[in-house]
């Protein structure tokens, strides 16, 4: 399968600040990729370079088989992180303008705009001025602007920020539909669980460097924490009893239950059995790694402690910000 986007050793600096350092990337056509990483990691810079809005200082880049996106702009749909809209323009006129800028003919453009507005439940707004719409509605209009010309490559920078759960699901389904029609989708998010819900492949960026590039399944296998979550009857007070069970490396109380990390080479199934034999349990389950955990593990090199906790707090802070907007 040919590559929608490929990058080799791409580097970009702003003055003395290195934004992106030596990124290699290869995104096959028809894939759905998630760029994840905390705020300021370099996701937007990477995306802007793919879009040829910024140009790398060093490295090779090709987009849809061309040396730069400039030559294939009309085949790319882009939703920037900073949402932009002509406030005084009517929604319909704005979308028509964007469509024509993207090289669409006037004929058949209007029905197309109306059809898309209908698909995102905004059928009646095309005569309203953009500034009259709510933030979420504006975002849906901007999403339409990025996919209206039926691009082969769709790049969405933080597409879910600012949407309520209903619209988030709507947008997720629209992205899935486009992907099923064979379109390549790249989106970035700093909210890791969104990537878990949407993509089959994840690229993690941290401090301008690519730290992970794998399918979600492989990541789960590779970063199996070899840990269990257990709720002994008697609560967290029994952590000492749990820690002496054979095969248990150490025990940490987390949110009213215990996280049990196993010794190297211990089969989790076997360990669950031993734990159940040792004492009565309300719950015993294998811990599934979240992308957050993976990220923290990569960044801290698997060490636990204050660094990891601070990082987790930072990531969660990012999430809460988002949820505030969502509510």
């Amino acid at each position: 399968m040919s590559q929608a986007v490929s990058m080799q050793g791409v580097r970009k600096t702003f003055g003395s600040k290195v934004a992106v350092e030596g990124i290699d990337l290869s995104i096959p056509e028809g894939a759905i990729y998630g760029f994840i990483g905390p705020n300021g990691a370099g996701k937007t810079t990477t995306i802007r370079m793919i879009m040829s809005i910024l140009f790398p200082d060093r490295g090779e880049l090709s987009v849809l088989g061309k040396k730069s996106a400039v030559e294939s702009k009309d085949r790319i749909g882009y939703l920037p992180e900073e949402r932009g809209i002509y406030k005084k323009m009517k929604v319909g006129a704005f979308l028509m303008h964007m469509g024509r800028l993207k090289g669409l003919d006037r004929s058949g453009l209007k029905p197309r705009v109306m059809e898309w507005l209908d698909r995102v439940d905004l059928a009646d707004v095309h005569k309203k001025k953009c500034e009259e719409l709510s933030k979420g509605m504006q975002q849906k209009v901007q999403f339409i602007a990025s996919v209206l010309h039926d691009p082969d490559l769709i790049i969405l920078d933080e597409p879910f920020s600012g949407l309520d759960p209903v619209n988030m699901r709507l947008l997720r389904n629209l992205i899935d539909d486009e992907n099923k029609r064979g379109k390549t989708v790249i989106f970035s998010t700093h909210v890791m669980h969104q990537a878990e819900q949407n993509c089959d492949h994840v690229v993690m960026i941290h401090q301008g460097k690519k730290v992970l590039d794998d399918t979600l399944d492989d990541i789960r296998k590779r970063f199996d924490p070899r840990a269990l979550h257990v709720d002994p009857i008697g609560g967290v007070g029994r952590s000492h009893d749990v820690s002496v069970v054979p095969g248990v490396a150490h025990v940490t109380p987390i949110d009213g239950s215990l996280e049990v990390v196993l010794d190297e080479g211990i089969d989790p199934q076997q360990a669950m059995k031993s734990l159940l034999d040792a004492m009565p349990m309300n719950r015993v389950e294998i811990k599934r790694p979240t992308l957050e955990d993976v990220f923290i593990e990569i960044v801290t090199g698997g060490k636990r402690g204050a660094d990891a906790e601070q990082l987790r707090a930072e990531l969660l802070a990012g999430n809460t910000d988002d949820e505030e907007v969502e509510s």
């Binding site: 809005i53 406030k87 005084k88 800028l101």
Partner: protein, 472 residues
């Protein structure tokens, strides 16, 4: 560069600026309204005259020769007759000063007649003080009156002035010395017309008596001093032509220059606003995903050029219509009109480049102000130069300034429209120089535009701008 994208951007730029109520009212309707209100304003100013002064003028005639003549001169009937005459002069002047059609002349006549009815002139009661009157007593009386607060308007008892005429004012006492003169003591806050009416009256009467005493016929003297001159004609290649009067030599170059300035400033200003707007509401990144920075900038500059151009077309047609109705189509020089358009394109491109660069570099209008100041000051320069340039269109100053972009088009249009236009090769060279300057300006703007559009945060100073130019 993709032409259809550029024209798409230009189309939106033009439509969102020019096809709005604000623009149409501001740019087109407002000048028409001003032109309609103008005569009304003039009428109002004329009718807003303060009430005329009425009162007594004492004459202390030490020569015992002038007072009789002066009493006649300042008599109410005489004053009225002179004011009427003055209005007739104004009518005559108004009709000849500005070229216009006959029915317009009639209208101006009527307006001035109307205005003359509303204006009231001073009314005097002139009392020659007896031979033994004392100037000090008269002054004291006037001071008492002023102190007691008696009014100066509408009461003949009020003393307006005391005229003290010297003994030798009309007859020399000895041949070596000249004539004597006079002095006037005035009540405070009199109208200017009142004061000059009195002084002119005294002067006229003294002269009258001098002529008579010397046995010279005054009418004859006046006839001798008056030399009539008919309107001068210019002999041009096409034949005889009315010589350009002060008004045409002055007004046509200045109007051309201001027209040029308004058209290029308007387009440039709108370009600044829309660029800042697109940057601050972040629509710019969406646009950049559809077209390159160069296509965007070119489209925007062309779009606003059409805005400036439409202003220029409308205003120049208004001017041509006005001249047509004044039956002075001969004043229109088509070369000048064509050059206005050529110079507009050159001037606009330079100004617009600066505006695009500034607009892309800043985050909001307020930050733009500090970078705008030098540009605006530069655009003010043509105003400072217009008097010297029009007076001497081919002087060293005029020639040199007309070659310095970006003010060059504004100076050059004044020279071209003047009654002493520069040689054709200079016009050609100026166009060439400006065309080169336009390329340089656009190159600079393109560099700044490309970097500036996606830069948010601290507004740049000149040094950062230069760094961006090197960067891009």
């Amino acid at each position: 560069m993709n032409i259809s994208k550029i024209s798409r951007v230009a189309g939106r730029e033009f439509a969102s600026t020019a096809i709005t109520k604000g623009f149409i009212i501001g740019a087109l309707v407002l000048p028409a309204v001003i032109a309609a209100i103008m005569p009304l304003v003039i009428l109002l100013t004329m009718s807003a005259q303060p009430p005329a002064d009425t009162g007594t003028v004492y004459i202390l005639d030490r020569s015992a020769d002038v007072s009789e003549t002066l009493v006649d001169r300042l008599a109410p009937e005489a004053v009225e007759a002179r004011w009427k005459e003055r209005f007739d002069d104004v009518k005559e002047f108004a009709k000849n000063a500005i070229p216009m059609a006959d029915d317009q002349k009639d209208q101006i006549d009527q307006r001035i007649d109307q205005a003359s009815k509303t204006i009231r002139y001073p009314e005097f009661r002139v009392i020659p003080a007896g031979p033994d009157a004392s100037i000090e007593e008269l002054k004291a009386e006037m001071q008492d009156q002023v102190a007691s607060g008696a009014k100066g308007k509408g009461d003949l008892e009020t003393i307006l002035a005391i005229v003290d005429i010297d003994t030798d004012s009309t007859r020399k006492v000895n041949e070596e010395e000249g004539y004597g003169g006079f002095q006037v003591f005035l009540r405070p806050k009199l109208n200017d017309e009142t004061v000059s009416e009195i002084k002119d009256g005294v002067r006229w009467s003294i002269r009258q008596r001098r002529y008579e005493n010397a046995g010279i016929n005054r009418t004859q003297v006046l006839e001798i001093s008056d030399v009539d001159e008919r309107a001068s004609q210019e002999i041009t290649e096409e034949g005889e032509k009315k010589a350009s009067t002060g008004i045409t030599t002055f007004i046509i170059p200045v109007v051309s220059m201001i027209l040029l300035l308004i058209a290029s400033m308007t387009g440039g200003q709108y370009l600044l606003t829309t660029t800042i707007e697109e940057k601050s509401n972040r629509v710019v990144e969406v646009l950049l995903s559809a077209c390159s920075p160069m296509e965007l900038m070119t489209g925007k500059i062309i779009g606003q050029m059409c805005v400036g151009l439409s202003l220029l077309i409308v205003y120049s047609w208004l001017g041509i219509f006005a001249l047509f109705f004044m039956e002075r189509m001969d004043l229109i020089d088509w070369t000048t009109i064509v050059l206005i358009f050529v110079f507009f394109i050159l001037a606009y491109f330079m100004f617009a480049s600066l505006m695009a660069a500034i607009g892309s570099a800043v985050n909001d209008m307020r930050e733009a102000q500090s970078l705008m100041t030098p540009v605006i000051m530069m655009m003010m320069l043509p105003y400072f130069f217009f008097t010297p340039v029009i007076r001497a269109p081919n002087s060293m100053l005029s020639t040199i300034t007309s070659f310095i972009p970006p003010i060059s088009p504004f100076i050059m249009i004044m020279r071209v429209a003047s009654n002493d236009p520069p040689p054709v090769w200079q016009t050609g060279l100026v166009i060439l120089v400006n065309a080169v300057a336009v390329v340089v300006f656009l190159w600079f703007a393109a560099k700044v535009f490309r970097v500036g559009l996606l830069m948010f945060g601290k507004p740049p100073n000149l040094r950062t701008l230069i760094k961006w130019v090197r960067m891009a």
